[in-house]
């Protein structure tokens, strides 16, 4: 390679960095960089009124699973924490399952519309996807409220005599999360199904498969990368959810996100909050790595590749 070519190549790389630099600086200052501080804080001692004392301590990390007995200073498994983790994982998995059960038929329906209608149906799914999460949570909350639409209608019809308390429990959080994250499941499923070659169905039926057998043995295996992608896209934000459990779960039915906030508020245990944040970050990163693998596989042919 000649010097001119070499210097041209180097200039191109340098320009690439220079052009990206302003964005990277802002991201380092206001997004990625502060994560390092959280990492550091997770190894410090908690201050009495919040914040930290600059002494090394593993209390934050230990505190994730254990609590220290105030009297004899022994470590016990922290039941309250376990409940919160279990609720977070359980609700996230259930949300993923519900969004899949409802999202797959929806994605299939959109993908099998005539080409002219497809864009319209897709647009109907994307609108909620981009609209304010708070407003959507709020909207479902208004429906579920004691003085909300469902209760009012049921009472008016005489089916129930007094309004039922539907808000502020795990069920409400589950309904809310399934509602707000559904588009995240439908969109990747749709793009997987859209690539699916419908002639394979003809082959399946030709070879004596019933509709259910075709679904189970032909469609699902082929669109699997889309299923994995959608599941992770729903699971990840569910696990880190903050707004939905706060509004629909009330103060008591916390998930990890609210638990983290608590440590920086009334809990005044910043190192524990930092350690919890790091743990959440690691789980999410691992899930996203699976996601990247799934979409890479899905992109290279849409089959078992």
């Amino acid at each position: 390679m000649s010097r001119a070519e070499e210097s041209q190549r180097r200039a191109s790389a340098r320009n690439g960095w220079l052009l990206s630099a302003p964005a990277l600086v802002l991201l380092a200052l206001a997004a990625s960089g502060p994560l390092l501080i959280v990492f550091v804080y997770s190894f410090l001692e908690k201050g009495q009124y919040g914040n930290v004392i600059w002494d090394f301590s593993l209390d934050g990390w230990v505190g994730i699973l254990f609590s220290r007995d105030i009297f004899d200073d022994t470590l016990k498994l922290a039941d309250a924490h376990m409940t919160i983790f279990w609720r977070s994982v359980k609700l996230s998995l259930l949300t993923t399952f519900i969004t899949f059960a409802l999202g797959f038929p929806t994605a299939w329906f959109i993908a099998t519309r005539p080409a002219t209608q497809r864009a319209m149906w897709l647009f109907l799914i994307t609108i909620p996807f981009w609209t304010n999460l708070l407003i959507r949570t709020f909207a479902i909350g208004e429906i579920l409220r004691t003085e909300g639409l469902i209760n009012t209608v049921l009472v008016k019809l005489g089916i129930i005599s007094a309004p039922i308390q539907m808000l502020y429990n795990d069920g409400a959080v589950l309904v809310g999360m399934a509602y707000v994250y559904l588009p995240l499941m439908v969109l990747p499923l749709f793009s997987a199904i859209e690539r699916f070659d419908m002639r394979l169905l003809e082959a399946g039926y030709d070879l004596y498969a019933s509709r259910m057998q075709v679904l189970r043995h032909v469609i699902l295996p082929i669109v699997k990368p889309g299923i994995v992608a959608g599941s992770i896209l729903v699971f990840v934000p569910s696990l880190g959810a903050y707004v939905t459990p706060r509004i629909l779960g009330g103060g008591k039915n916390m998930m990890i996100g609210n638990f983290i906030e608590l440590q920086f508020g009334q809990g005044r245990n910043w190192p524990l909050g930092a350690a919890l944040s790091m743990t959440l970050l690691v789980i999410v990163t691992v899930a996203l790595l699976f996601y990247v693998r799934a979409i890479n596989r899905g992109g290279t042919g849409g089959g078992h590749g």
Binding site: M1, S2, A4, E5, Q8
Partner: protein, 364 residues
Amino acid sequence: MFVQSVFNKCGVFLDNQEAVSAESVVKSFGQGPAAVRALDDVSLTIRKGEFFTLLGPSGCGKTTLLRLIAGFEMPTSGTILLDGQDVTDLPPNHRPVNTVFQSYALFPHLSVRENIGFALKMLGRPNAEVEARTAAMLSLVKLDALADRATAQLSGGQQQRVALARALAPQPKVLLLDEPLSALDLKLRKEMQVELKRLQKETGITFVFVTHDQEEALTMSDRIGVMSSGKLQQVASPREIYTAPVNRFVADFIGETNFLPATSAPGGARLGSGAIVAAEGEGTVLTIRPEQVQVVGPDAPGTIPGTVENLVYFGTDMHVHLRLGDGATLVARMLLPPGGEAGLSTADTVGVTFTPGAARLIRE
């Protein structure tokens, strides 16, 4: 250094006859053992005012050479001169050449008029001049009526004309054309071939035309450079390329031809069967075009005996596949008489002769 610059200055006064000159140009893509040599030590001179065609199969390096002349790529080694001036390290916007791209590359956000005036505007020419030249170009390519259209509204042929006008507007020293006709249908392509030739005559600009279509090259060019595997195989006039190819590649790529193993012999070439035919040139392969092969009766004197293996009907003519005594095969093309009967059938024993002066010995 001083001598060089004096020499360059003199070039201006000496009325340089070389429009483009490439000296030992090498271009590799990639690095290390995986590097591919797209151009392998190519030297070439293109004269002022000529219609020069670079001809070869895809991947032979012809487009790479064109891009090096335009300045879109830099040579790995070697020098490129435009009008006697070394431009090897100049970026494209400082070279007095313009390109007609294979995909036309018309700016979709600009009108036909704005596309054509683009270069002059970039050069900061006064508005009056830009307008005058644009108008002149529009009438040169007969697009006056469509001046304010968006380029996407034009047909393929019209887009082609805009691309030509745009590249000609700044009056380049050399116009580079990268397979400009390949996207057009056959009828339009024929029209544009005539049109291009007319434009070249009217403007007097040197055209460097890249194509893989040998017929296009033969009909339009003053000279042709045949390329293969990054090397120039032969540079000559169309007639010479067709009648006197220097090697098997050129003979094979241009038109249809027969190859027969042969050795040099006094008075011509000795074929495998021992027959001696008159042939010019030197080498181990005898070439003869199918239309220069005649099939006659088996007893005619001075003929090579052979048998008819197959007959392929083409409407106007017939391809006769022949096998000679030594097992060599060749094809003869016979014009068919009215009624279309050649009077031959498979397995006939026949005599074969070549038109005098048509057979040539070439290197492998």
